[in-house]
Symmetry: C2
Subunit: 212 residues, 2 copies
């Protein structure tokens, strides 16, 4: 019996709480009923203190017995292959799930994250706005036509896409009713709500130990 360990920071400022990507692993484990432990690396010194586990100094990474993997997409795929609750076993449904996971990471997040980065950097004229608007319109069209991205039911693809689309600045960009309904519906799942509450509590508990 392998032991799943989700690695995250010991503490983060209030801003990113509820958005740190260990949430993707917590949420997947909650959906699939997979037992897991949470362990930490220090937020202070993060740029160099855990490069042997994560070469960009980020979190999360995932341990499963002797296997360890970074990149939230890779860890999520690893978890998805453990449970049909996250990804169908048959080849067509599996391929649909993986393609939409990749779309969340490499077609949507590839523009939303840099756009968001420029926004919080105070860019007056965000050069990625038109491209993001186009991509979000394409996803809006998809979500107008279907309730779930893959296999006609909730999968890890919805988990990842909803996590990408729920970023407040992205959610507030334009008027996209199908996307808004989708994000609301997917993030109203008990698995998301527990994962989010657990992450927020994890970092809040660290506030207390830091202040003593």
């Amino acid at each position: 019996m392998s032991e799943l360990i989700i690695w995250t920071y010991d503490w983060v400022p209030k801003g990113p709480r509820g958005f740190v990507r260990d949430l993707r692993f917590r949420w997947a484990c909650e959906e699939a009923g997979l037992a897991y432990a949470v362990r930490t690396v220090a937020f202070e010194g993060r740029e160099t203190n855990h490069l042997s586990h994560q070469p960009f100094g980020q979190v999360p990474f995932l341990s499963d017995g002797k296997l360890q993997t970074f990149e939230s997409g890779a860890g999520l795929l690893h978890l998805a292959r453990k449970s049909e609750d996250l990804m169908p076993r048959e080849s067509i449904g599996e391929a649909e799930t993986i393609q939409w996971m990749m779309a969340a990471l490499n077609s949507i997040e590839m523009v939303t994250v840099p756009w968001w980065f420029l926004e919080i950097s105070g860019a007056k004229d965000n050069g990625l706005a038109d491209w993001m608007g186009k991509r979000l319109a394409q996803i809006e069209k998809v979500l107008t036509e279907r309730a779930w991205l893959a296999a006609d039911r909730f999968t890890a693809a919805d988990l990842l896409m909803a996590d990408v689309l729920r970023i407040p600045k992205v959610r507030a960009f334009g008027d996209r009713p199908a996307t808004e309904a989708y994000v609301t519906r997917v993030t109203d799942r008990p698995g998301f709500r527990k994962a989010r509450a657990d992450q927020v509590a994890h970092f809040a508990a660290a506030d207390e130990s830091r202040s003593t």
Copy 2:
């Protein structure tokens, strides 16, 4: 016996030739000795003419019998699972390969592509330059310490990372000798050279039929 079909455009302007992402699939098939056919969708009208196959109006997508998948990362993973030449079968080597494929897509390309987009859009002060410099320095450190990203040998992770890093503007950004040697070495493989030549010839042949 399934038939692999790589779908790309019927024609593209000269600029992107040698860089259209069907090359990732062609290269993988060449490395693994997988037979494949190439079929096309029209470049003219691409934003709407094949949305049922690719919801962003892009290429490539991949057919394998009844299975069809878009996103170059998803198609590449599909091909990698067919051949040990592209990805080890044992779980640790497979996980390493997948994590570095995801890193190429979601940690490196997530900054290099938007940075490149801003550059070609004529941005005077590219707000993503510092972030890209940091990420490329992190990859440079990794490539200083090892010849291959995963499993101590060439895998689909190197194929994808080298394809991301070989973009001329990215390659010319700063002085990163380990990365330069890596890109040179990986793109000197016969599989890459054949895939690139075939793609260039494919689009050049369309020039002739367009001019008649």
